[in-house]
């Protein structure tokens, strides 16, 4: 292992300029994170992680990347400058997705196998709370004002609202079958929750915890049961939402004011999670079944190129 690392370092010396963005892709089947230069789209490094890396989050200062290693029941902390795993935290069983508060103090982890949300102190890994939620928790989102956290549970079909002050569940909102991802709008007024099997997205008010809108997708020539909404990302101006549709092999572009679908962007197979660069000009979509990442130009809504990554790419993060 050490030898591989040395060889990689020798072949790809790291002298990226400070302003260049760096992309991180977790490869569920390879037990690695692929590091890609945002300019050249070349792979800079492949970092070995714990087993089954899926959800990832950057700390607010962008210095560390936290990776859920589900089968090793831990979080690996990668230093985003040295690109080494510098330490690991005990996360509780089977971590799948996570989020971090805006101060970078607390991490909220979904323990998929265990029906729990574990709240950890980032500095020392101290467990602050283990909060029982529904069966197979997955999606995690801390509100922009750090007031609440939303956890989704796949088998229970609910969004659980956790009060971050008391670390107690204050509301359970029923959504459609198999909710996967929760994402707050930039202003934090609502949270969008995708339901993979239900084929819909629910928009939940962040104060009243009521569902204010639910919408689905229709694509001519595509059977409804393969349209499975997954990852969600909002444009920088908040006017558009990009929703990965998994087995429909497309990303839906939704007008956030009218909830109308403006376009479907054809990407690789099983687009899963997606993210955007800091300027909001490029969308990066990882495709689980084709082992690649599609780069989409946000202005034209056209896919530009595809970058090969590891096997079963799952999550993607951009360090500005």
């Amino acid at each position: 292992m050490l030898r591989t690392t040395l060889v990689c370092a020798a072949l790809f010396p790291i002298f990226a300029p400070a302003e260049a963005a760096t992309l991180f892709v977790s490869n569920e089947k390879d037990n690695t994170v692929t590091v890609i230069d945002g300019e050249s789209l070349k792979v800079i490094k492949t970092i070995a992680t714990g087993a089954r890396p899926r959800g990832m989050i950057l700390t607010p200062d962008n210095k560390k990347l936290i990776v859920c290693a589900g089968d090793d029941n831990r979080l690996d902390i990668i230093d985003t400058t040295t690109l080494e795993v510098e330490r690991s935290l005990d996360s509780g069983p089977d971590p799948e997705l996570l989020d971090i508060d805006s101060k970078g103090d607390r991490i909220y982890v979904a323990n998929e196998d265990d029906g729990m949300v574990t709240v950890l102190q980032f500095a020392d890994g101290k467990v602050l709370a283990e909060i029982p939620v529904g069966v197979e928790p997955e999606g995690m989102a801390v509100s922009p004002d750090d007031r609440i956290t939303v956890a989704t549970s796949e088998q229970t079909s609910m969004a659980h609202i956790i009060d971050n002050a008391t670390l107690k569940v204050v509301a359970n909102v029923l959504v459609d079958v198999r909710p996967r991802v929760a994402e707050f709008t930039k202003d934090g007024s609502v949270v969008w929750v995708s339901a993979e099997i239900g084929g819909t997205v629910s928009v939940i008010d962040a104060k009243s915890y009521k569902t204010v809108k639910k919408f689905g997708f229709e694509i001519p020539g595509v059977r409804p049961e393969v349209i499975q909404p997954m990852g969600i990302r909002f444009s920088n101006d908040g006017k558009l939402a990009f929703i990965a549709l998994s087995t429909a092999n497309r990303v839906a572009v939704v007008d956030t004011a009218t909830y109308e679908v403006k376009d479907y962007i054809l990407v690789g197979q099983r687009p899963w999670h997606l993210t955007m660069n800091e300027q909001g000009t490029k969308l990066y979509v990882v495709n689980g079944l084709t082992n690649d990442m599609t780069v989409v130009d946000v202005a034209s809504l056209k896919p530009e190129t595809s970058v090969p990554v590891g096997r079963l790419p799952w999550g993607v993060m951009v360090k500005p």
Binding site: D94, E112, D113, G115, G134, V135, E136, E154, Q155, T156, S157, M158, H160, K168, V169, V170, A171, N172, L174, V177, R178, I197, G198, G199, R223, E225, V226, Q228, T247
Partner: protein
């Protein structure tokens, strides 16, 4: 959150007989006496994990009676107690005796055990829903894969048991449906016996090449040995080197220990923690039956048979069962639509329907008896 006031109570009954079943041929498979119900037990906990958050309480009531006990009397007793939702883990005669009781006419019964095509055709019942794939669905699932592989010359070897013969009939139908050819057909005449062979491998080693010697060449042996008399003995002993598919070898099943996709891993782990063994196909359908009721109760806020039956047959219903799509019921025979796993003994090989087998509405309806072919005519009361 403070405890929520209970507004809906759902009681699900699990009715089974402890039949003496043919032991699995392989010593790697344990002889089990709690298949099915273990899955239901895991699912009831899941229903309650959800239910406690919104004021629903789910209860599983187990009625597991000896093989020689009177199942009709037991069923009447359950009905008299006000049961509406009943899971049936019963063989054919018992299943029909229960389903045909006047007391059961307006209940919802879920069959988790039998693959009989008749039950989905002439012998269908308006109060009976079927969760496991029928023999026709299993044969079609394998046939699609074999056609995709261009392995279309089949040598069919069937056991003499009732289930063996049912599966064999379905395999012949699949061959016609998908343009494959049964180049030779034989019956394996011995009864399923003891699975212990001790020094008996020599006998099997000489017997199987004889059984598999044919005039015509074949691409695969299609074994119809649902009652476990010889299927596992075929592998590596055939007259010419050919793979074995069907009831052993490459199988078409709803669940398999090697399956991990679509959060299947979480299910395997949850089950093994609870039952201290691997989840079998019947365990999976026991789990799924309780989840079918659970999903319907969750969405309707009701637990009576009339409301739930209407919901199960509506467009709104879809339950998640680790197959990457919502599982629904076919209105014409109340069979659950589902992708089917194509698995080898130690690893998943594929999932059917295969790419390219098209259907106007659901590609999963390319497996089994589609609406135009159905001979099911529900007698509504």
């Amino acid at each position: 959150m403070d405890p929520v006031e209970i507004k809906v109570e759902a009681r699900m009954h699990y009715l089974s007989k402890l039949y003496k079943e043919p032991p699995p041929l392989s010593l790697l498979d344990k002889i089990l006496t709690d298949e099915g119900v273990q899955g239901a037990r895991v699912a009831i906990k899941e229903n309650n994990m959800t239910g406690r958050l919104i004021g629903h309480r789910h209860e599983l009531v187990e009625h597991r009676i000896p093989e020689n006990a009177d199942v009709v009397a037991k069923a009447k007793e359950i009905a008299a107690g006000g049961a509406d939702l009943i899971i049936l883990d019963l063989e054919l005669t018992d299943l029909l005796a229960v389903a045909d009781l006047p007391e059961m006419a307006d209940k919802v019964l879920l069959n988790i055990r039998l693959s009989d095509d008749d039950l989905r055709m002439e012998q269908c019942r308006q109060n009976l829903f079927h969760l496991p794939p029928s023999w026709a669905m299993r044969a079609d699932a394998l046939a699609q894969y074999l056609v995709w592989k261009k392995w279309t010359n089949w040598f069919l070897i069937a056991g003499k048991g009732t289930k063996d013969q049912q599966y064999a009939a379905a395999i012949k139908r699949s061959a016609t449906k998908f343009g494959a050819k049964i180049v030779e057909e034989k019956e394996y005449k011995y009864e399923a016996g003891s699975r212990r062979v001790d020094s008996g491998h020599q006998q099997i080693q000489t017997q199987m090449p004889l059984l598999t010697q044919t005039r015509a060449d074949y691409d695969v042996i299609f074994a119809a040995d649902a009652e476990e008399a010889f299927g596992d003995y075929l592998m590596y002993r055939t007259f010419i080197p050919r793979p074995v598919v069907g009831s052993q070898g490459l199988v078409a099943v709803g669940w398999h220990r090697s399956f991990e996709q679509y959060a299947g891993t979480q299910m395997q782990n949850r089950f093994e923690r609870a039952a201290n063994r691997a989840m079998t196909e019947r365990d999976y359908y026991g789990w799924l039956a309780v989840r079918v009721f659970g999903e319907a109760v969750l969405r309707t806020n009701a637990s009576d048979a009339k409301t739930l039956k209407a919901y199960l047959l509506s467009k709104e219903f879809g339950v998640a069962g680790f197959k990457g799509q919502g599982l629904t019921f076919r209105a014409w025979d109340q069979q659950m639509r589902q992708p089917i796993l194509i698995s080898g003994p130690r690893a998943l090989v594929s999932i059917s329907p295969q790419e390219g087998f098209l259907h106007k509405y659901f590609t999963t309806d390319t497996m089994g008896f589609d609406k135009p072919e159905t001979k099911c005519r529900f007698v509504r009361n």
